[in-house]
Assembly symmetry: C2
Homo-oligomer: 454 residues x 2
């Protein structure tokens, strides 16, 4: 997965089968439609985003049938918002099977090879990349298969594949002797349509019937994608499983510090599961977090211990909410450079307000000039620590290849503020932050200087 990527093909088109009520190969229709939502985005939009954002596919041929108008209008909306091109095919005979649906795309794909996927279906982008690296020769079709039979979510419902080397020998739901499960993602040449036509002539209209025809001539290739995630979303249990997997995959951030990882993230994820279903935008969440920090700073300034403790709790809450903007953006596949930058600027102001609030509180109480010096040293340290983070994190990511390292970042600083306010020790909290951040900046400079020389 980490080696240089050599793609044989750069497929630019994907055919999405969205005609049935449940369109898995050889599976009887049941369960939710492509517009069913998984954490704020429909299955259809998640599949489109995987092709569009991860695999560089901009053109889609969508085969519709059941509730065609609703499905079409939903895809038109996705295409408009995401900047994709969508053409629709409405075959009369879609009820015969997903093979009939797929066959109706003949002549619409424009160029080969093209991806083919179900729409009530989630898969890791790596499956598409592996297919592109093993692009089908002319006259061949490549099907991504998973050899980890025990890892299939709903093994009873899986389409089973018997392989021989890289060739598919047999494909059907009821195989006794099988090697792999059909993941439902293909990279096809025009040959697919020949196979489907021949199967149709025999009265068989499943996608796997067409593949079986090609398999007889050794033209159906099994591409092993074992270890990469895929899920056929047919049942309510499968929707819940999909939400669990999407959450665990797209809610992560490598640079999370220890407080973020063990305290903030569990809470922010819980919040995010609700926020992602609302109309709230990530930038609005960033602003809400910033406003909470302003309230905390105001509580620090007003003086008195109870206000100080309350401010500490609100500051920690702001830090937790600050995790939600990125999570919601990633879950909705709406990450943007601007969003991340805007959030970072607000964070810098929030940091400074909190630290100045604590400084003010301490100075008002004691009147010592030392409290001003320590407070400003903490403000400077927090700033320069963030200022140096990009270059340092880039280096550490490269060197450590994603392994965790202690990073006294914003999560840790805010937690120290929280503790200092709660335990009525603002000066100690400021001193800890001043030392921790400035010492770490010096450490970063030394490490980067060493790296430069190496």
């Amino acid at each position: 997965m980490t080696g240089p990527e050599v793609r044989k093909a750069e497929p630019a088109v994907a055919v999405l089968l969205a005609a049935g009520k449940g369109t898995r190969i050889c599976t009887k229709s049941r369960g939710p439609k492509p517009i069913a939502r998984v954490l704020g985005l429909s299955l259809a939009e998640r599949v489109v985003c995987t092709f569009l954002k991860d695999l560089g596919v901009r053109r889609f041929v969508v085969v519709v049938g059941h509730e065609a108008e609703i499905v079409k209008s939903h895809f038109r909306d996705i295409a408009l918002r995401r900047g994709a091109t969508v053409k629709f095919v409405e075959p009369d005979d879609w009820r015969r099977g997903n093979g009939a649906s797929a066959l109706s795309a003949r002549g619409r794909t424009g160029e080969t090879p093209f991806y083919l996927s179900m729409t009530d279906h989630l898969f890791a982008p790596e499956i598409g990349r592996v297919l592109a690296r093993h692009a089908p020769a002319e006259g061949q079709v490549c099907l991504a298969v998973d050899k980890d039979k025990s890892g299939v979510f709903d093994p009873e419902d899986a389409t089973r594949v018997k392989v021989d080397g890289d060739r598919i020998r047999e494909i059907a739901k009821d195989l006794e002797d099988w090697d792999a499960a059909d993941t439902g993602v293909l990279l096809c040449s025009e040959a697919l349509f020949d196979g489907l036509e021949r199967a149709a002539a025999r009265g068989m209209h499943g996608l796997c019937d067409g593949l079986r025809e090609l398999a007889r001539e050794g033209r159906a290739i099994a591409v092993d994608v074992t270890g990469h995630d895929w899920l056929d979303v047919d049942t309510p249990e499968a929707v819940r499983e999909a939400e669990r997997r999407v959450m665990s995959q797209q809610g992560r951030k490598i640079s999370d510090g220890p407080v973020a990882r063990y305290l903030n993230r569990p809470v922010s994820r819980w919040l995010t599961r609700y926020l992602v279903r609302t109309a709230v935008t990530p930038n609005q969440i960033s602003i809400a977090s910033w406003l909470l920090a302003c309230v905390a700073a105001a509580l620090f300034v007003t003086g008195g211990y109870p206000a100080l403790a309350a401010g500490g709790v609100v500051a920690q809450l702001a830090s937790i909410v600050d995790g939600c903007d990125g999570e919601v953006a990633r879950l909705r596949r709406e990450q943007s450079d601007f969003g991340g930058w805007f959030d970072a600027i607000l964070d810098r102001y929030a940091d400074a307000f909190l630290l100045f609030g604590l400084t003010w509180h301490e100075f008002a109480a004691t009147g010592t000039q030392m409290s001003l010096v320590i407070g400003v040293a903490a403000i400077i340290g927090a700033f320069v620590h963030s200022y140096t983070a990009d270059k340092y994190d880039g280096m550490m990511t490269r060197k450590l290849r994603g392994a965790p390292y202690f990073r006294p970042g914003r999560d840790v600083r805010t937690f120290v503020i929280f503790l200092g306010a709660l335990l009525n020790g603002p000066l100690l909290a400021l001193a800890v932050i001043a030392v921790m951040t400035n010492v770490d900046v010096v450490r970063r400079i030394i490490l980067c200087a060493r790296e430069e020389k190496a």
Copy 2:
């Protein structure tokens, strides 16, 4: 110059003629050797850096003769420091002419095409790029020529070229009827050596004699590089001209604000002309500038007006010296990511110390809490202004394509501190900085948000 670059060739080797005392085509030897220094770097090192850093050439074949051991040891030192590979050729007959020198490189270039250049010679990297885009066909040699005859630095001494379309018709020093000047940079196939050999058989040993042989058969191509800078460094006047050109080309920085452009740069360049000839490193200059800022902040804190004014002057001096680190690094062709990052970190600390020094001075004098608030607002604003600079500058550079725009950056802030200290108005200076920086941050956010939507 700005269009997409299509190079026909990626030459990986350069032959450098460093045998004579002055090795220009058809020119009598005189003047300084290749190790003569132009602003801290020898001509040889500048030519090597142009090939290595701008044109991606890592292998050099250096022809030596006059004072061979000194020249070889100098090139070995360059190769070691810069990470290049150098092979030497020492022909017995180098005194016959630079054609004899060039001919001795036969069989040493390894692959064609290869660059050929004089060593007492400076040229803009774009000349090499234009040659690479017009790479010579087999059996041909490409010579970069300049059709702006009146712009040639020493027209009396130039080798003259008569062209016919893209072919060289005649090349010699004494042509009456000529179209262009020979720039002394070539991109050659092995054909060069055939031409040189034939000329040698006739008893002619100049590089232009060999080119004339090829020109007779239409195999010498003139590649027009008019408008790009080149200079044959034969005389003390030419050395001074070279220093002037190198200074004006490599001492610039696009993101300079108005104070940097009109006040700091003229002074820092004057300083840099001396510093670049010393052993002082750019990082040492960064530290010196930071220490000056610390002294200024200490003067602010000690209280009293004379100390305040002195601090202002030292702060402005620190800002000027801060321009020298980058200038020296660029002039020595030693720019590094680490150096820029290290300088930026020290600048952030210096900014904060200066502003906190002013704040302390004001608070000690008046005791008003408002001075603390304004001072911290200035510290925060200065930080976030720098924090947002990269993304914003990137956008503005893309949008404005290098056109100047008002940028109230570090140069402007330090100048306001200087004026405020000099005129005994620290609170006003802090207020101006607090408003200017924070308002500009909001403006940047709005502009970038608009850009994001577009």
